[in-house]
Amino acid sequence: MTTALLQIKNLVKQYPSVKAVDGIDINLCSGVCFGLLGPNGAGKTTTVEILEGITDTTSGDILYKGKPVGDQFRKEAGIMFQSTALQDFITVRETLQMFANFYPRHSNLDQLIQRCNLTEYLDQDNRQLSGGQRQRLLLAIALVNDPDILFLDEPTTGLDPQARRNFWDLIDDIKAEGKTIILTTHYMEEAYALCDEIAIMDHGKIIAHGTPKALLEANFNDVILQLPEDELMDMDLSPFSIHKIRGQVEITTSDVNKVITTLIKNNISLAKLLIRSRTLDDLFIELTGKNLRS
């Protein structure tokens, strides 16, 4: 049985004009990669910053290893903010050494540098790093204290697809070590690929929580068939649940055979037919009525 590493009980953050976090409860076990998803303004950044100890809570409890968060948590947590400035005129090596000196326990720097693929840039000024190199340095800083719990706040935002895939490989490596990860992201495929558990937030509350697969199964028992709109011009689509988007018609159904049979009967070409399962994107829109980037 896994141990609850982080327990969040009835967490509330009230700002003068808005309740950013409204009574959240989460139990996070060791070794889990937990994804916190939500549209902008949902309260996920506030929640994560409260967990990181950056923002004070209005009420509620956060227990780390059974005790209120404090010095031990700060020593054992690794944090990668979405946008962190690094000191100018300081090299990658010096930055890592400075952060390593802040902690009583730290990772082997040579191994960390190799793992985050920073060897070539060690003597480079922080200002001269590319987006991908910078994100890898920020991840290395987050790992410098060999953390038991790692917070990654939109770690791949702004990276090109290749850099993003490389970053996912790094996170997979970290997961393999049994570290607990809390990840916030706007990319659903990222959450699906990396997270063991996800929670979707909206208006300061968690509106869905579970494994990605379980959430999809609980909310959807259908698939989507997609065809170009002009292929279906002469067909009566009224028996189906359809959605038109950018010249494509999406037919949502739990009976694929029935739809395909109907299409064939109507002499519709299936050459351009696409069938896809429901995704986290669909789940999010279903639950919140918003696009993740809105």
Partner: protein
């Protein structure tokens, strides 16, 4: 406070400053350029009027009255107070006044090494000879090397440079780091606010002292300005002054999140200090209220203490008042700045 955390912050901040060549150059070049400019401006004969201080002008004798009517001599009356008279005599020693005359007692003080004093004395005695029935003036000689304006202004310029470096080098940098999220990142580590601020203070103090020492010795090599006191005492005054003004910078930077606001506030503090702390001109002749207000500026006390050491050869006891005020201000600024400080 954990020493290795403090040292890590200190070392990184020092490297950052030393590698920022434009900032470093400006810190060194600004005082050098001001001093060089002043040395050039005051290198020639500027044709000033003769200056004569008068005691007991109201009860002046006839021949003295005749002397007091002469043109192109700047006469100004001082009170018949022992302290004031001693201060005027000190100015004669430094060639800042050409002659001091007691109009009632027919007594004058002059520095025989001062060309201005020599000429004014001749004029005074010439006016006396036209009233031969009167008794002679009694002459008191005072000795002392000339204090140029350059000698007088250098302690202030060194202090002023220190002030700009302290206020902008700490205050502005902290606000910049708060704005770009660096402080937020540090907050997420075991670093305490006290460790962070201490590292900033010590780093800036080390750099200010090195830069000030460099400027001091370089300027002295070229300009040979007066240094009558102890170098160690001067070092202590500058160190305490730097500490006080860095602490003031911490107060400014405690919560501000905008560089524009910080810049405006720092200018609001530094410019009045620069003009009303006795850096460029003596506050003696100014209205009493200005003299009182100037007492609240750390720069006033650093400049006065440094000037007393460099020109008068004052010891620590002589400048105890300034040291006490600077110490109290440092403690007050530091405590308030640390208490008021927010990472974000």
């Amino acid at each position: 406070m954990l020493f290795n955390r403090f040292l890590a912050l200190l070392s990184t901040r020092n490297k950052e400053f030393l590698r920022d060549h434009s900032s470093l150059s400006w810190n060194i070049l600004m005082p050098v350029l001001i001093i060089a400019g002043l040395a050039f401006a005051f290198s020639g004969d500027i044709g000033e009027k003769f200056k004569v201080a008068i005691i007991n002008q109201d009860t002046a004798t006839i021949q003295t009255k005749s002397f007091l009517t002469l043109k192109y001599i700047d006469f100004y009356q001082i009170d018949h107070d022992e302290k004031i008279i001693q201060h005027a005599i000190q100015k004669i020693q430094r060639h800042q006044i050409d002659l001091l005359l007691d109009a009632e007692k027919q007594q004058y003080w002059v520095n025989p090494e001062s060309p201005g004093g020599y000429l004014v004395e001749k004029i005074l005695l010439g006016s006396e000879s036209t009233h031969s029935q009167q008794q002679n003036f009694k002459k008191q000689t005072v000795e002392g090397k000339q204090i140029r304006y350059l000698d007088w202004v250098i302690p202030g310029i060194l202090s002023m440079n220190m002030m700009f470096s302290a206020l902008f080098g700490v205050g502005f940098v902290i606000v910049r780091y708060r704005k770009n999220g660096m402080l937020k990142r540090l907050k997420a580590t075991p670093i305490t606010a006290f460790e962070y601020l201490s590292a900033q203070v010590v780093s800036r103090m080390i750099l200010i002292m090195i830069v000030t020492a460099f400027v001091f010795y370089a300027a002295n090599f070229f300009l040979d300005f007066v240094m009558n006191g102890s170098h160690l005492n001067l070092f202590l005054v500058f160190a305490l002054g730097a500490f006080s003004m860095i602490s003031l910078g911490l107060v400014v930077a405690a919560r501000i999140t905008s560089e524009e606001t910080a810049g405006g506030l720092l200018n609001l503090i530094s410019w009045p200090m620069m003009f009303f702390s006795g850096v460029w001109f003596s506050l003696e002749g100014t209205v009493p209220m200005m003299q009182t207000i100037s007492e609240i500026f750390p720069l006033t006390h650093v400049t006065a203490a440094a000037r007393a050491i460099m020109i008068d050869g004052a010891g620590l006891l002589d400048i105890a008042y300034h040291l006490l005020v600077l110490s109290l201000q440092s403690i007050a600024f530091l405590l308030f700045g640390s208490w008021y400080f927010k990472w974000e």
